[in-house]
């Protein structure tokens, strides 16, 4: 009993933050967002159907990889989790949304440990965890049963064990990160690209810092996951989603634009056309255009992204007041004199921040997409936490900025709360628009 009490007391701030995150994500979960969207209800129904009848609605016993909705291959673990939830909470809206809200709330734990183990300061961990707790981007998706939010819990937990391994070299951490990464393959498609890229980056960073132990494990992991992704990409269910959403798809319009440019060049200009209007340049330009959007102020702070099902009117993905600690983080990271072991982890995490939007940038449907790029929330929380910590440590006028930032978060937290309320007012309008969209499609 004493042990439990001591544990609770020593981790009291983190437990409080997790509870706070859970309350924010689960308060009125059944009715806010107002209605279940089509995918939510379909996956919830299919999940319960399988668990009840031991086969899916087409008669396939216990689907292992996917559920096929006419060529749209849904990954099965979120479906099972939603189905399971209906046996606990009943057949209602709350049950379908509960798994993502719970995993969204629990995601603050790995974010805390990534920050704590990177900077060796618990306070930075608490700040980062608190930032994720109040982040509009993360809250909105957690409440909308988004698979990306479930995935980010497993991905960031795997990342937490990687950081743990880089610092302490315990093999158990490597094994745990492997387990959490592999679960991501059964949650959300982009992780089938993000995870091999993460391990490739880890290999490169380990090589640069001459960390042989991490290098050998990272390379092994990279090869295993690349082969796994390679296998999946050869199956029709594996490439189905990518071929639908990818910028390489004819529907993206890139190939048409390339053709237009070639025709515009005029007849008998084959060499010029090959030099200036080839596929590498065309698709590369589209990729860079998409990639840059994910770091734009309009996307992050003003408008947010798609799909409509996840958009909160007049609300960006981050608060404007995040700008203060993020700038502070950039300045203090650039000026910081970190030990070599810490440099290695930081270098890895900073590069990873720029790497995680790559899969999202390769798609065009519903782009820029806030779910496909949701991994960025981990890094924004981490860096904002570090920036705020540095401001709080300053003695002179910089401390004033710290208080301004804190006041900004409280104010914006309130405004975001109002924003959620606003969706009650705005939603009818957006539904009318959606309705028109459907009518046009019919």
């Amino acid at each position: 009993m004493k042990r439990i009490l001591r544990f609770v007391l020593s981790w009291f701030p983190l437990i409080t933050i997790v509870l706070f995150a859970a309350i924010i994500r689960m308060w009125k979960l059944g009715s806010l967002p107002m209605n279940l969207q089509e995918d939510e209800v379909m996956t919830g129904y299919v999940g319960r159907f399988i668990l009840k009848n031991w086969r899916d609605v087409y008669g396939n016993p216990w689907p292992f990889w996917y559920f096929d909705k006419f060529g749209d291959y849904y990954i099965v673990l979120p479906i099972y989790l939603k189905g399971l939830s209906t046996f606990i909470f009943g057949v209602n809206e709350f049950a379908i949304r509960f798994p993502s809200a719970l995993l969204g709330a629990l995601s603050v734990i790995p974010v805390f440990f990534i920050s704590y183990w990177t900077f060796n300061k618990k306070k930075i961990g608490y700040f980062a965890a608190l930032f994720l707790t109040i982040l509009p981007w993360h809250i909105t998706l957690s409440r909308a049963s988004a698979e990306g939010i479930m995935g980010i819990f497993f991905y960031s937990t795997g990342l937490m064990f990687i950081v743990g391994y880089m610092n302490r070299k315990k093999r158990a951490y490597a094994l745990l990160s492997f387990i959490f990464f592999i679960i991501c393959y059964w949650i959300y498609h982009p992780y089938r690209v993000v995870i091999p890229l993460t391990l490739l980056l880890l290999s490169a960073v380990s090589l640069f810092f001459k960390d042989k132990k991490t290098l050998s494990l990272a390379l092994t992991g990279f090869l295993i996951f690349t082969l796994f992704t390679g296998y999946i990409s050869t199956t029709k269910w594996g490439k189905g989603r990518f071929s639908q959403t990818s910028i390489l798809s004819p529907m993206s319009g890139v190939s048409v634009r390339i053709q237009e440019l070639i025709y515009g060049e005029g007849q008998q200009k084959i060499v010029l056309a090959r030099i200036f209007h080839n596929k590498i340049l065309g698709y590369g330009r589209e990729f860079l255009r998409q990639y840059s959007i994910y770091f734009s102020g309009e996307y992050l702070f003003v408008k947010g992204g798609l799909s409509y099902a996840y958009s909160v009117p007049e609300q960006g993905l981050l608060y404007f007041s995040f700008i203060i600690p993020l700038i502070a983080a950039a300045i203090f990271l650039a000026r910081g004199n970190f030990p070599k072991a810490q440099q290695k982890v930081l270098f890895f995490l900073i590069l990873l921040f720029f790497l995680v939007p790559i899969p999202a940038s390769l798609t065009y449907i519903d782009a820029p997409n806030i779910q496909r790029s949701v991994d960025m929330t981990v890094f924004f929380s981490l860096f904002a936490g570090y920036g705020l910590f540095q401001l709080s440590e300053q003695k002179k006028w910089l401390k004033v900025i710290y208080f301004v930032a804190i006041a900004g978060f409280i104010l914006k937290g309130y405004i975001f709360g109002m924003g959620i309320r606003c969706t009650q007012i705005y939603l009818p309008v957006s539904i009318v628009m959606m309705d028109k969209r459907h009518l046009l499609n019919m």
């Binding site: 209800v41 319960r48 009848n53 087409y58 096929d68 909705k69 057949v91 459907h438 019919m442």
Partner: protein, 118 residues
């Protein structure tokens, strides 16, 4: 719908996409007999006496034979209701007050015969 569907021979609901899943989920209907009936785009044509019509304006799709029966039709709000053949008996309001659904029955006095003869 749950309460009243048994009072009618057939009930026609507007649908697109996987809308029938909403009905099955909220009526807690996970009957294994749907295996084979649910199509590969997760659509269902019929659940007992409830028919899912692939149109927002369900009343446009009712056959002359069904018009003679004791049927209930749900139309989306943006459908122009044929006031001769159908009689609106109620509205269904969801959370969104702008989008009601119109609850119709055939107008047996005049309209139904007219439509059948056409």
């Amino acid at each position: 719908m749950k309460k009243n569907k048994d009072n009618y021979d057939k009930v026609f609901l507007p649908t697109y996409g996987t809308m029938s899943m909403y009905y099955l989920y909220f009526t807690n209907d996970f009957d294994p007999s749907y295996i084979g009936q649910i199509k590969y785009d997760v659509r269902l044509d019929q659940s007992h006496n409830v028919y899912f019509v692939d149109s927002g304006c369900t009343s446009d799709k009712i056959s002359p034979n069904d018009m003679k029966k004791n049927i209930l039709i749900i139309n989306k709000n943006n459908c122009s209701t044929d006031a001769v053949n159908f009689k609106q008996i109620d509205d269904i309001w969801g959370a969104n007050k702008l989008l009601d659904f119109k609850v119709l029955i055939p107008n047996k006095d005049l309209g139904a015969t007219k439509k059948v003869t056409e």
